[in-house]
Structure formats: C-alpha cells, structure tokens
C-alpha cells in the first residue's frame, strides 16, 4: 500500500519543511527552558560539590549561608574541630558583588577561603591555588578574567593566580576565591569618611571615652570577627548526622548535612524560579500543541475534496486518519530534531548555564509525539465528517 502521508509530504515538501522548521524553533525554545531549569539545579549542586563539605555549620535558626544570611564568630571552627568525627573544618564567607577589571565589571560571588581548607576550588584549569594570605584570587573562567590580571574588590586589588571552571553560585554567577581575611574585610569594609565619623561618635560618647576602653572599642569596630559558615569534612566511618548532632547540641548552632543543604538550595532557593520555568514549559507545550493542531487542521482542510474522493472510492476511515496522523507525527519529528539541534547550538551562547539532559530530550520527544497525535484528532474528526457525496456535484 502506498504511504499517502509520505506522498503528500513529498509533493508539498517545501511547505512541510518550513512549517517543521518553525515548529522546531518553538520546540528548541521549550527544550532550552528545560535546560535553563536543569542548569539552575546543576549550579546549586555544583555549589555544594565544589565546597567539598560534608556539613555546613551556620547561625542558629537560619537557612544560611546560601539561602539566608548567617553570621558566626570566626573562632568557632576551633571548637568544631574538637568534636567527634570531624576531620577538617574551615571558615568561609560569601558575598555577591561587582568585581572590577580594567574598564568592566563582572557580577561575581566572592568566596573567602582558608587556603588548602574545605571550600578551596577542587581543581584548576590554569595557574595555581592561593598561597598567600592576601591579595591573590582564583576565578571561575566564566568571569572572563585571565591569569595575571589585576581585579578590584572594594578598595583592594587582587592578582588572578588561578582559573577554575564550573564554580558558580546558585544564581549562576561565577565565583572568585580570595583569602578569608580579605573577604572578611571586604564584607564590612567602610569608607574612610565613615570610619572617621564612627570614631568621632565613639569618642564623643562619655561612657566609652574612658582610658583603656576607647582604644578597645575602636579596635573592635574596625575589625570583622564574623564569617558566614564553617565547612566541615568528616572522618571516614562517621555518618553526617552522627557528627552533626553533637555540634547542634553542644555548640548550639544550625548544622546542615549535604542532603539537607541540597533540599534548601533546590526546593527553597530556586523553587520560585523553577515554578516560573515550569509555567513557561506548560505554556510553550500548549502553544506548540495549538500550532501543530492548527497546521494539521489547515493542511487537512486544504485536501477536503481529495478526502471526499478517497472516501467515495472506498478508502477506509482508518487509512484517512492514519494519513493525517502520520503527517502530524512527521511534522512533530521534524520539529523535534530541528529543535534539538537548535537548542544544542544556542545553549552555550546563554549567559547562564543551560544543561540539556538526554533524559529531557527523550521526555520531550515522547511529549512531542503525544502532542502531535492529540493535535491531529481535530483534523481527523473534520476529515471523517467529510461527506463522500461532496465529490459528486449537484
């Protein structure tokens, strides 16, 4: 038996191909939206993986350090190091800001780390790790910095000594690692006028302007003894929860395991964004279905006379329905492949990470086929209603 659908497509291939390409671009956008969501989730997981931590010790009753602000004294890590099951512990600070390099500035997450401690970038693609206590930086390559370049963070300048890759915040901003002390300073650094103003206010306060007291107060005001979190690595053979529980109990801190932190990042921090993308996906799927239905319906209505003749000469309904459905599915397949190829090519051009997962492609493929089958029902109904008598005049 001749493939009526195939012959019709070959006969008007130009119309079919252009329609398929148009549909494909829409499917490409849909796949990219899914990729944006996957990229956000992956960014969140990368943030956890790259920290190298098993536990995050943060301020009590907060979801810090990524989802909420958290502030701890920077000497707390010593007590944590003494807790059972703790192998390594190190302070860490995070602050998102604009980093200047020459005439441009880049939105980046500044990470204050203890060199060689937990939180240090796991691997470099160029250069070396931070070895000095001040004014060195390791940057994610997505920031666009090069080795040896000087970057400005607040009032201080740092030399880029190493480059790393896929070290991003949950928002997708590239990370710039600097020594912890510098990051603590940068976090609360006041300008000179503000420092003078604060000193004058403190001096003017008779309760503080006492011999021996004034210097101590001013000293405490000009330093920052806080960090955002303590990253903890546990000894082999200990479970994260086993180690976390005594810290919660005795240090009276909030401790999150990796699973809990992943839950915070994925389910809470990017929850609204993922719902937003989910809505876009639903709308795009509906629009795609409507377009396929409209195209197939229009193509079918253009063949009403031929369908009437086919019915009159004895063509079965299922042959006519099969022809329409095959064309709809063919259009969907063409659209899917155009969309997949388009998404693959344009995904790297997006400023944020777009992760096109094979699983999503398979789900998208199945969805396209189902949508095309459903969309063809309208046209099939119209075709089956055609009266074969229309082929006979009168």
């Amino acid at each position: 038996m001749i493939s009526l659908a195939g012959r019709d497509v070959l006969h008007s291939w130009g119309k079919f191909v252009f329609t398929g390409v148009g549909l494909g671009l829409l499917i490409g956008v849909t796949l990219t939206m899914a990729g944006v969501y996957r990229g956000m989730v992956d960014d969140a997981k990368v943030l956890l993986n790259n920290s190298g931590a098993d536990l995050w010790v943060v301020q009590k009753n907060t979801l810090g350090p990524y989802a909420e602000a958290s502030s701890l004294y920077d000497d707390l890590y010593r007590s944590i190091l003494a807790m059972p099951g703790v192998a390594r512990a190190a302070n860490v600070t995070y602050l998102t800001m604009q980093v200047r390099q020459g005439n441009r500035d880049v939105r980046a997450m500044i990470v204050g780390i203890v060199p060689d401690g937990p939180g240090t970038p796991g691997y470099l693609i160029a250069g070396r790790q931070i070895t000095r206590s001040h004014y060195e930086a390791v940057a994610d390559v997505a920031a666009g910095f090069k080795l040896g370049q000087v970057i400005s963070i607040r009032r201080n300048e740092y030399t880029v000594v190493g480059l790393t890759r896929r070290m991003v915040s949950s928002g997708g901003d590239p990370m710039v690692f600097i020594p912890l002390r510098d990051a603590q300073t940068a976090q609360f650094l006041k300008d000179n006028d503000a420092i003078i103003n604060q000193r004058n206010r403190t001096t003017a306060n008779p309760a503080l302007n006492q011999p021996g007291v004034l210097e101590a107060v001013i000293g405490s005001q000009s330093s920052n003894p806080y960090v955002n979190a303590v990253l903890v690595q546990i000894k082999p053979g200990h479970s994260p929860e086993q180690v976390a529980e005594p810290i919660r109990r005795w240090q009276r801190m909030q401790v999150y395991t990796r699973a809990q932190m992943e839950e915070i990042l994925v389910a809470k921090l990017i929850a609204t964004s993922s719902k937003q993308i989910g809505m876009f996906l639903v709308i795009l799927a509906i629009v795609s279905a409507a377009i396929v239905a409209f195209i197939i319906y229009t193509l079918t209505m253009g063949k009403i006379r031929e369908i009437a003749v086919l019915k009159l000469i004895g063509t079965r309904n299922r042959t006519i329905a099969g022809m329409i459905m095959q064309q709809a599915v063919g259009l969907g397949l063409l659209g899917f492949f155009v969309g997949k190829i388009s998404a693959t090519f344009w995904a790297p051009l997006f400023p944020k990470y777009v992760l096109l997962e094979p699983g999503d492609a398979v789900r998208g493929f199945v969805a396209v086929v189902i949508i095309c089958i459903l969309a063809s029902i309208l046209a099939i109904r119209a075709a089956l209603k055609v009266d074969p008598a229309e082929a006979i005049g009168g």
Partner: protein
C-alpha cells in the same frame, strides 16, 4: 431484466419530513445492461445527482430496490453493511472534474483502488499500466496530475473508475470541461470500455454534443424518469 448491470425498481428518495418534505425521486425504474452506456439528462434540480448518489451508495434511498452487478444492494434498506467496500469493488466513478489525487502520480492514482482492495502494489500497478495503455495515456504514467491536460486527466480518471473491473460506472458530467473533440473522445472510450469489460455505464450530462451518441437516454424531471430509445449517432 435482473442481470449483471443496473436494475432499479420503484426507487424513491424523500428529503425532510412533514410539510417541508421534498420527494426528489418518485418511483424511478431504470435498467442498464452490461456493456451498455445510457445517458441521464434533465434540468438542474430534476433529481439527477440524487439518483447518482443513491446508485453510488452515498445517500440512502427512502424506498425501492437496487440491483448492481447482480447483487441486490438496496431493498427498502441497505442489504450490504460495508458501503465503502461496495463502492470500491462494484462501482466506478467519473466526475465532472477529474479529482485526481494531486500528490500521487498517474500510475498510483489508478493503482490506489486495487491497493485499497488489498491487492499487491506490483499487481495493482501492472493493472493500472494496462488500463493507461488501453486509454492511450501510458506515456504520462509517471507524470503528476497537474502536468496533464484536461483530456488526459479525464482519461486517467476513467482508468481509475475501471481498474477494479466494477460492473457499474457512474459518470457525472464527464465531458463538461472538455471541447467537442475531447468530449466525443471520452464517450468513445466509455463505449469501448463498456464493451470490453461488460460494464454498465450511466452518463449524467447536459452536453448537447454528446447526447445524440447514446442509444438510450433517460430523461428525468421533478424526480420522474422517462426513457427515450432511438438510433445512436455514430461518434466519429
């Protein structure tokens, strides 16, 4: 006469009910023998198309009896369930416009019917080519319908009507879009094919130039048929 051709007895068709009812066919009787070509003529609204649609098993008559190819297909109700199969196997259609399937080439337009009937592609195409040769359009076998002249298209549509060797062919104004020469050529082909395949053919027409070529003509007016028999004018 209840042979292999067309036999109609007291066929009526009513549209609507009650005060608005319209009796389009009133106890029509008609016989067409195998190998015979008869004309069916009448003014617009006389019931020609209704009769053709009833014969084509496209609309259901209200009462009467229809025998096509020796099988009673209607006797105060359809006696055959699968009307599509009936149309495919027992009735060939030739339309005013050829209505060829635009995305199939000439051979496949003709071969489609036997394929729909379950015959193999090669057998169907071979049969199609034989008919195209008989109708003198085999040289256009690979052409698409849009590449054919009006006369060629109509010959292909006749080949399509004949390909399943139906006992009956219904031709609805098959010469309307053609000039005199081509119109007469089509009637000549229909006569030749009727003889060759022992097919009973009814030609609905308004075409004055072909009316004299029929041996027998059925006139239809207000749903009533009258038979006129006479000497057919030689076509050439």
């Amino acid at each position: 006469m209840e042979g292999k051709g067309i036999h109609i007895e007291g066929l009526s068709k009513r549209y609507g009910e009650g005060d608005t009812a319209l009796l389009a066919l009133k106890h029509v009787d008609m016989q067409v023998a195998p190998g015979e070509v008869v004309g069916l003529i009448g003014p617009s609204g006389s019931g020609k198309s209704t009769l053709l649609k009833c014969l084509g098993a496209v609309i259901e008559p209200t009462s009467g009896r229809m025998i096509l190819g020796g099988d009673t297909i209607y006797q105060d109700g359809w006696t055959i369930k699968d009307l599509r199969a009936l149309r495919r196997d027992k009735i060939g259609f030739v339309f005013q416009a050829p209505y060829l399937i635009p995305f199939l080439d000439v051979t496949d337009n003709v071969a489609l019917l036997p394929m729909l009937a379950g015959r193999s592609n090669s057998e169907s195409r071979q049969r199609a080519v034989e008919l195209l040769e008989a109708l003198d359009v085999a040289h256009r076998a690979k052409a698409m319908p849009s590449q054919l002249s009006g006369g060629e298209q109509q010959r292909v549509s006749i080949a399509r009507a004949l390909v399943n060797q139906p006992p009956v062919i219904l031709a609805d104004e098959p010469t309307a879009p053609l000039d005199s020469e081509r119109a007469l050529a089509v009637i000549r082909i229909l006569n030749k094919m009727a003889q060759q395949y022992q097919t009973a053919i009814i030609v609905v027409t308004h075409d004055e130039k072909i009316i004299p070529t029929f041996k027998r003509i059925y006139h239809i007016r207000d749903g009533v048929t009258y038979e006129e028999a006479g000497e057919a004018r030689p076509i050439d």
